[in-house]
Subunit: 701 residues, 2 copies
């Protein structure tokens, strides 16, 4: 868009009456409200008099336009985009330099004599640099001595959308899918571009647009046209499109009798299909695959293994430089086995057997995105296989859209964990970023929390989780606090004291949630749709889909014994890790019940018995939501009124539900522990029967 | 909200940079953009210098605020709301007058010496008058001799939302449900108020918030709190809340062993439940019930009839002045019977047996919201039973959100149809508005097309259908054209020539759709989700859920014989109606195949054989979408650019799919008719097999 056009459009906006008067959150962290401090604006204005774009690259054009849009808002002035500075100083120059000491998407920002240069080795680097520069302005950083170099540590930084053909999202709590399949490819929702903008601004460069429980539809020409229309929008933001594939597609849409990965006809079908895809989408990213997992078909149906399946697809994609992302999230319906061990047991023997363009994508923990899990033992093995990380941004087990959980600490906890696979300091992050095992391919994925709700994420503060995922995918050494503070300043307020308060509240939110939801290493106490507490749930089509399978409460104690005395899942970790967790007396409390069945009367390091400690956590967790509410109330004056009310309303729901969780747990566990609620806590005002009745309401058809 | 606050908020809006620069359709027909013509603004300004509100009624307060908001936008000035004119002329006075010759919700608008008076018998009348006045301004009417009286012809003017607890909408094509059940009652989405504003502006005074395939959840205290929170928002807009109920709720949530409507315990349970509801919602409207229909349980499960079921609920609601709306949409799974006759057969014998606070709600046609149906024969009988109308606004059988179908002509066609029940002139409208049989209760419902999409209805022009339903519910004598023109001027453009073009395109859109979809009285040629053409569909769990059940094509001809030679459904109509439709030679072509199995070679009144006529309709229908596109292209300069592009994209999809429909029908029917495509039309470029493959894609899991 030309600068003139943008200016006219902005003018139109400014003159349009009747626009809703609230900040609806649509703009995310790309708000670009006018900087209030005139001195600051003047300082920035000195180095932003023009934008020099000497390139026909669509991505660099995007970079220039984003700068122009941002500066229009932040400084209230229209900065022209020009092909040459013509000797003038005081502008922003975009440039690529193939010889720069950067990796392929890194950037350098510098300011010399009031002239800012954004250098990338590639066009994408320039785009990321442009957003980084805007971030400097948005967070009111000094720029006169700007000198900043940044390289993404992981190559493929992706969102995974679990979105279905009918517009539903398998674990979505912010409306419907962003993708309007019935309208595509003819109608292009302007929101597709805004989605790409938001992602590019935090360095995300890939998106899997459909659910891992995939429909074959997406591999038909009819749907490839639709996907291509999205790819056409995303391309100039440096974002590639990937598809989840249904493994038996050769049968369901190819008319073949088998989907056996070693069958030549099947191989040919996939090769042809991939060729067809690349005709529609020349820069197609590749496939994400959920196979032989939770009812999805896969290579094992034909007596083959995961590597056989992945390698067949990899062979088809290789000529086009496409990749296969094969998920390690597998477990069998075996009530006697320990689900914790399943993925490791299936994948570890396959190390070194995957083709070069395959990444095995591993969930952060061994079970399934619980509020707290130990890191997956797979990260401590398989050095010959590129392992990608799968985090969940959407709050499937984190209270949907009404509980506040800032997730950067969850991501960091896993990334910073030491696997000891190559000695001390072998963190999960170093595995995933490839530095430990020199992976040729690296990847990190977040299961998206985006939906068609106006503010994208339902809970306004859940935007921070999308943001934090992107920032950590780029640079996992950033701290949770730094990211939170940056996001708050860009999104909510630049007032220092309120920004600090909100940052603090974000940082503490996850531990508060764990305390009332699953303290001390409890997990999976959920109803069917993962909404309400149901630790008593003991019937299901699969034993590992009950709650009692996980907590194993009995009259003596609670917890899943995973030492040699039990399932011995602990043996899947390196000895140094085992040593940390093996002894219940020294096992860190957050992981205690993950690995040990502990007596109710056992004294813990806190000085309390297990029962008392559990009660203390449930009660203080629930009480802490009151603290969150108070903190939020204190920032009212510095936050947009609609956003304020929105969050305040959700915190109220959270408070109510936190008490519900607390009551459900303590009343249920009391039937085993047969002990009173310890002072100073008061026993719940309702009975277990009443709690269960409330839960049952949410399960009524 | 005080005038000062509104003014400040508007100022804030005007100064907020970075707001998306497109008109996203959120404001619907309440746009209130500045009137361009300064002379016109000055003329209006003379009579809008203040708003005199001498009442503490929340509804009148709403009226005053809506006037203020509207005038702020339209005239660009803040009009103060004052308690007394203090002798000044030139203002707008809101007043109620119990003695006015109006019905309870009617209004009068008058202008004397530049002082406008809005008179209602009730507060609601004043609110409707305020919106009517704004409509005068929005459509640029002269107001100096304003003298307008209007009374709603039907008492209960309602939307029915087929919205589920999980946020899905059974037949929704514009995103998720507007109701955020997991957030309620604590978080109040500002959109709830905007929903109420839009409805009140067109006279809608009731809303059933949940699906007729109802969950018992809504009758629990937990959910009643949530529903009450919505009712609290809607109340000051004169809108009452109703609930769809699950008939066996006494069993599922009441713990009883039966839901038999004649069981005393069941009666008591409902009485108690209703008392509880009115504690939460003092002005609760009543229940909507789908019973013994499409698998829903009902009174027949206990050997009782519909009246028994309805009357039991009516008894519980009567003390609170609540009503029961009992749906007549029933049919059994009997392949040998004619579904057309089912509802009449079940309900006609019950005439006079329903309690006084029961309305039987009848779909406009005998089958199910097809693009064209004859009026339901039930409207021509049951004079002792108040019959309400159920229209479908959401485009379940009208191409979802990508086909343009302006529905006022569908509604009008039914309302204007003559049942002859009390002699000539006994139109369906006179049945429904109660004037024919002196009903004590009258009601009309539209199955909502609203969803969480930013523009509410997906297709921007589908907003006109919501609007038209409301306007016709208020006054069914309005013409489709007048409503379309009014809506266009309020929503898209006041430029006369373009407004006329768009009005014309709206008016023709339904006939165009019928031509390529179901011409000459064809019906129900749909795939499972009612998206793609599948006239060949012949397998289903029920015979009346196949396509071939409806069209009955064979080697000789096509159509469902419903004269005495066939099912004799025609006998359900009055003799005068039978006479119109009984003879295939004189039966109007739009209804021909509804009542007659006609030979392919039969010459029709058009001079063409049936086969040639069908082909002509399919082809001209599909071609006419090109005409729609051209017409739309011609208004580009007068329509907001984003809205323009949005509609243009959808028309492109419609064009593609219209050809798909055409090809599906002609290629499939050709297998029976064994005749060539008549000149000048060219045979489809694809084979029936290819068409079927395309359809199959949309049915892939």
């Amino acid at each position: 868009m030309s600068s003139k056009l943008i200016f006219l459009l902005l003018l139109t906006t400014l003159c349009k009456a009747g626009t809703p008067d609230r900040d609806d959150g649509y703009r995310l962290w790309l708000k670009y409200d006018l900087i209030k401090d005139a001195t600051k604006r003047a300082a920035y204005a000195r180095s932003t008099q023009l934008i020099v774009l000497n390139s026909t690259s669509p991505i660099q054009k995007t970079a220039a336009e984003e700068l122009q849009t941002g500066l229009q808002g932040l400084l209230g002035k229209t900065v022209p985009i020009v092909a040459s500075a013509g000797g003038k100083t005081g502008g922003i120059t975009l440039t690529t330099n193939a010889a720069a000491s950067l990796n392929s998407e890194g950037y350098q920002l510098s300011n010399q004599q009031n002239t800012i240069t954004i250098t990338g080795k590639t066009d994408a680097g320039v785009l990321y640099g442009a957003f980084a520069l805007l971030r400097q302005f948005q967070t009111l950083q000094p720029i006169d001595r700007l000198s900043l170099t940044s390289n993404p540590k992981i190559q493929h930084r992706m969102l995974n959308h679990w979105d279905n053909t009918d517009g539903s999202i398998e674990r979505g709590y912010a409306g419907q899918s962003l993708w309007k399949w019935y309208e595509l490819p003819e109608r292009i929702d302007p929101r597709y571009r805004d989605y790409a903008r938001a992602n590019a601004s935090i360095g995300i460069n890939g998106t899997v647009v459909n659910n891992v429980n995939a429909s074959s539809r997406f591999l038909t020409a009819e749907y490839l046209q639709k996907v291509a229309a999205l790819a056409n929008v995303f391309r100039s933001y440096g974002i590639k499109v990937y598809l989840s594939v249904y493994f038996p597609a050769p049968k369901t849409i190819g008319g073949l009798k088998t989907a056996d990965p070693l069958d030549p006809e099947v191989n040919k079908w996939w090769a042809d299909k991939v060729n067809e895809i690349y005709k529609f989408i020349p820069d197609f990213g590749g496939f994400l695959v959920k196979a032989n997992s939770e009812g999805q078909p896969g290579p094992q149906d034909y007596g083959r293994n995961h590597a056989d399946g992945a390698n067949m697809l990899a062979k088809a994609l290789a000529p086009h430089k496409g990749i296969v992302i094969w998920r390690a999230f597998v477990y069998k319906a075996d009530g006697k086995a320990d689900r914790f061990k399943a993925a490791y047991d299936e994948f570890n023997p396959l190390d070194g057997q995957f083709a070069k363009n395959v990444i095995v994508q591993v969930k952060n923990g061994p079970i399934d995105f619980q509020p707290r899990e130990p890191f997956s033992p797979i990260f401590g093995t398989m050095p010959k296989t590129p392992l990608g990380m799968e985090f969940q941004i959407t709050q499937e087990y984190l209270g949907f859209a009404t509980h506040l959980v800032y997730e950067a600490p969850i991501f960091k906890e896993c990334l910073d964990a030491d696997t000891y696979v190559s000695g001390k300091g072998s963190t999960v992050a170093k595995v995933v970023d490839g530095s430990l095992h020199q992976y040729p391919l690296t990847a990190i994925a977040g299961v998206a929390n985006t939906g068609s709700d106006r503010n994208w994420t339902g809970h306004p503060l859940a935007q921070a989780n999308w943001y934090a995922f992107g920032r950590l995918a780029w640079d996992h050494t950033l701290s949770s606090e730094a990211i939170a503070n940056e996001w708050v300043k860009m999104t909510l307020t630049t007032e220092l004291s309120s920004a600090k308060t909100i940052t603090d509240l974000l940082l503490k939110s996850r531990e508060i949630y764990v305390n009332y939801n699953t303290p001390l290493g409890l997990s999976r106490p959920w109803t069917g749709v993962h909404f309400a507490p149901e630790p008593w749930q003991n019937r299901s089509s699969r034993p590992d889909w009950t709650a009692v399978y996980y907590h194993r409460a009995d009259s003596l104690g609670i917890g899943f014994e995973r030492t040699a005395k039990g399932s011995n899942a602990l043996a899947q970790y390196r000895p140094e890790v085992q040593q940390q967790w093996n002894n219940p007396a020294t096992c860190p409390l957050p992981y205690l019940l993950w690995f040990h069945h502990v007596l109710w009367t056992q004294k813990l390091s806190t000085g309390r018995t297990l029962w008392d400690e559990l009660c203390t956590r449930f009660y203080t967790g629930a009480d802490s939501v009151g603290w969150l509410q108070k903190q939020w109330a204190s920032v009212r004056k510095d936050v947009d009124s609609e956003t304020f009310a929105n969050v305040a309303g959700r915190l109220e729901t959270q408070q109510k539900e936190a008490i519900w969780w607390r009551d459900a747990w303590v009343l249920y566990l009391q039937e085993f522990a047969r002990q009173p609620i310890p002072a100073p806590f008061k026993k719940p005002e309702r009975s277990l029967k009443e709690v269960k009745e409330l839960v049952d309401i949410y399960q009524l058809r």
